[in-house]
Symmetry: C2
Subunit: 221 residues, 2 copies
DNA sequence: CCCGTCTTGTGAAAATCTTCACCAAGTGAC
DNA sequence: GTCACTTGGTGAAGATTTTCACAAGACGGG
């Protein structure tokens, strides 16, 4: 249970979603092969990823869809709810806290903060935008465990520090800025500029380097 | 020039941003060490990444900030402009095409599409939302090279196919769904559900696995 | 010019991640 | 029960990525 890589976790997340779909379609069992096809990965990878957490399948048969989904749910920490605070109620922040999938997956936005007086007090659905100055007071009160940084880059580090001080254990950063947080705080960054630039790189260097897409399964014989 | 990994490119993107900042602060030269510190990476990694493209530094001195920035700019394909089409004018799509950094980095949103009749025709700034049915016609006309998928998951693959058919060479996908595209089309996916779930995983397994943050540079002696 | 100090570029080593290959276990037909 | 076939779990091999370590270049002081 000690050496789980970031990429393994990301794949688990994909497996989980695939299982949801297969279950909705009425599938009862699924093999590592089919699970792999749906995600552009090798069957061996699927089995290795899962075996890091236990033996969930049956030889000759595959995995029970419902059972494996529930196991992954627990492994990913989705069998409970998480209190989330969004800081920054601009376009990105708004898109985030009105995002359906958020609540659907167990993430409850219990607070939205902004620094702009024109925004403070506005209601969006059930949420009222609060002054970011009250973060230190409200976040612990509402048992916030995850903070989402959706501020301009200039304010991002400051906000991250405030979130950490308020006892948040995980931060999801959308500001295009590398944040520094203590080691015990988990940090994920979604950096649009990086994505765009890596896309531009791929287009510019298209002819030269063409790896990057999955190879076809290529089952000999 | 053939074996450039995805992670190298992402780091180049960070170096580029750091260089912009340092240049704005008036810095003239920078060592791999300082460049590394600003991004939570090792100096050796910085040098390896850069050396894959040439020799940009001077021994004993470091890198010339302006020169290296311009070189990276060209390497990343940012020394030209890219025509982008955004498909899906919901919250995410809106956040995207009004995102300042987009144009700032050379990405011009020349078309926004949606399928909802209530949205079609709406103006947002200089952009008018067009019927997605006209994608096949308008995208080639406007020389769109990059497509952004910001639709509900159900429509994502269909839209991706349409973009590919319209001659788009790169796709940035925000729908929580694995897309399949031909090998010659570059694809990047930003999947919020995956980010959240990997964050939840980290929090649940906090005590057990605590790698993931950078180690301190630890310079012996 | 020479010496001490700095810093890059880069093979080699180490660490990490992915794929292979095969055994064991399960199924269904007969 | 036996046989042909399927599939998971897993150690080992292979591939990739990161880090180490050091030679070679660059500078400044005297």
């Amino acid at each position: 249970m000690s050496g789980i890589s970031e990429s393994t976790v990301r794949r688990l997340s994909h497996y989980y979603r695939t299982l949801e779909e297969v279950e909705a379609e009425g599938g009862r069992t699924i093999s590592s092969r089919r699970l792999a096809e749906r995600g552009g990965i090798t069957p061996a990878q699927v089995r290795k990823d899962l075996s890091a957490f236990g033996s969930f399948g049956r030889r000759g048969l595959g995995y029970n869809v419902g059972y494996l989904r529930r196991e992954l749910r627990a492994i990913l920490g989705l069998d409970r709810r998480w209190n989330v605070a969004v800081v920054g109620a601009g376009r990105v922040g708004t898109a985030l806290y009105s995002y359906q999938g958020f609540a659907q997956r167990g993430f409850d936005v219990v607070a939205v903060f902004d620094a702009d007086p024109r925004r403070i007090g506005q209601r969006h659905g059930t949420t009222t935008i609060e002054d970011v100055a009250r973060l230190a007071e409200l976040a612990p009160q509402r048992r916030v465990e995850i903070g989402v940084v959706a501020t301009p880059p200039g304010a991002a580090q400051e906000v991250a520090d405030a979130l950490v001080a308020a006892g948040v254990r995980g931060i999801l950063n959308f500001a295009p800025r590398k944040l520094t947080v203590p080691a015990q705080v988990a940090l994920r960054t979604v950096d649009m500029a990086v994505e765009l630039e890596s896309l531009a790189f791929a287009l510019v260097h298209e002819r030269r380097a063409r790896r990057q897409r999955r190879r076809p399964p290529r089952r000999a014989g």
